[in-house]
Amino acid sequence: MAVDLSDSVILTQLDRLANWVRKNSLWPMPFGTACCGIELMATGASRHDIARFGAEVMRFSPRQCDLMIVAGRVVMKMLPILQRIWLQMPEPKWCISMGACASSGGVFDTYAVVQGVDRFMPVDVYIPGCPPRPEQVIQSVIDLQEKIRKTGTLIGKEFRERKASEAPLPLALELAPTETVISPGDFATGTRLRDEGQ
């Protein structure tokens, strides 16, 4: 096409309008599996009210939501369910990974817990904490609103760019296994894989 429409003032204004509308009405899909789910409920309650920021209702049907908040540890039995709910959400959709367990597995580095939900589905904002305070959850919604304001488009072009997996490298590539027993308090070496007896 001879004219590059992406910088057209009409389309950028439409983008701005769409971003404004979408960011101020992010309806969350609360995927609360564990303790962070309680803090998510607290964030939705009257004292720290997430509805002030547009998250008016926590719809439990994924078809009616545009923001998935993964709150809590996700076990390997739950992950296919999580992926299925994510796929059922209509575009545009965003994901907030709430708490240490959803972001990285948290304290549960075991055979059953997925070490970070971003290994298997796309995440936009991470919230650290165990559990994060409701104010942190609200801050993450505000951060997501900033992200939508800066990078959002009417037709969702920014999503098509994210083709690569956003997961961290597998642990086995990052750290070499060692022979000695590492004490659990050593944060720098605590994630080494040990093969014998452990």
Binding site: K77, T110, Y111, V114, F120, P122, F159, E166, Q198
Partner: protein, 167 residues
């Protein structure tokens, strides 16, 4: 029933060699053979008044010093009238990792035995629906055995990846 009466009753039923007892403070244990375990449990329930099954669990003695058998299965019983507790234990070794299911005595043994099967691989014969309860059905290993690594063997990260462009 008082503990001495319980032991005397079991001795009259199973003979003095049919089981062993041990005790520490107020923790009293009956150590039965896998062959007469169900009968001991039935006798404790029917005749000695232990009407409540509190828990069934198992122990893996693989790296335990001075262990003679690999697995132990522990039943915790409670007499709801007198408040007495007693623990019944048997030892199992591979390859005969099977005991008779206690579901016909206590309905609550159903899920407890499923959990022991899921985590240790001990089969309960006569169980109405013995399948995994905590791990997914396709999981092949028994995680709480001592030779299974804490972080697993890669099963937890063996899933398809959804990227934002396609999902």
């Amino acid at each position: 029933m008082k503990h001495e009466d319980i032991v005397a009753h079991l001795k009259s039923r199973f003979g003095a060699d049919g089981f062993a007892t041990s005790e520490f403070r107020d923790n009293r244990r009956i150590i039965a053979q896998p062959s007469n375990l169900f009968a001991v449990l039935a006798s404790l329930r029917g005749e000695c008044g232990f009407d409540s099954l509190i828990d069934i669990t198992a122990v893996d003695y693989l790296y335990y010093p001075n262990a003679k058998d690999r697995f132990g299965v522990v039943y915790a019983l409670l007499d709801s009238v007198s408040g007495e507790r007693i623990y019944v234990k048997t030892y199992l070794n591979e390859p005969e990792l099977a005991v008779r299911s206690a579901c016909s005595l206590w309905q609550g043994a159903d899920w407890m035995e499923r959990e022991v099967y899921d985590m240790y691989g001990i089969v309960f014969e006569g169980h109405p629906d013995l399948r995994r309860i905590l791990m997914p059905e396709e999981f092949t290993a028994f995680p709480l055995r001592k030779d299974y690594p804490l972080r697993g063997r890669g099963e937890r990260h063996n899933f398809p990846v959804l990227t934002r462009a396609e999902g």
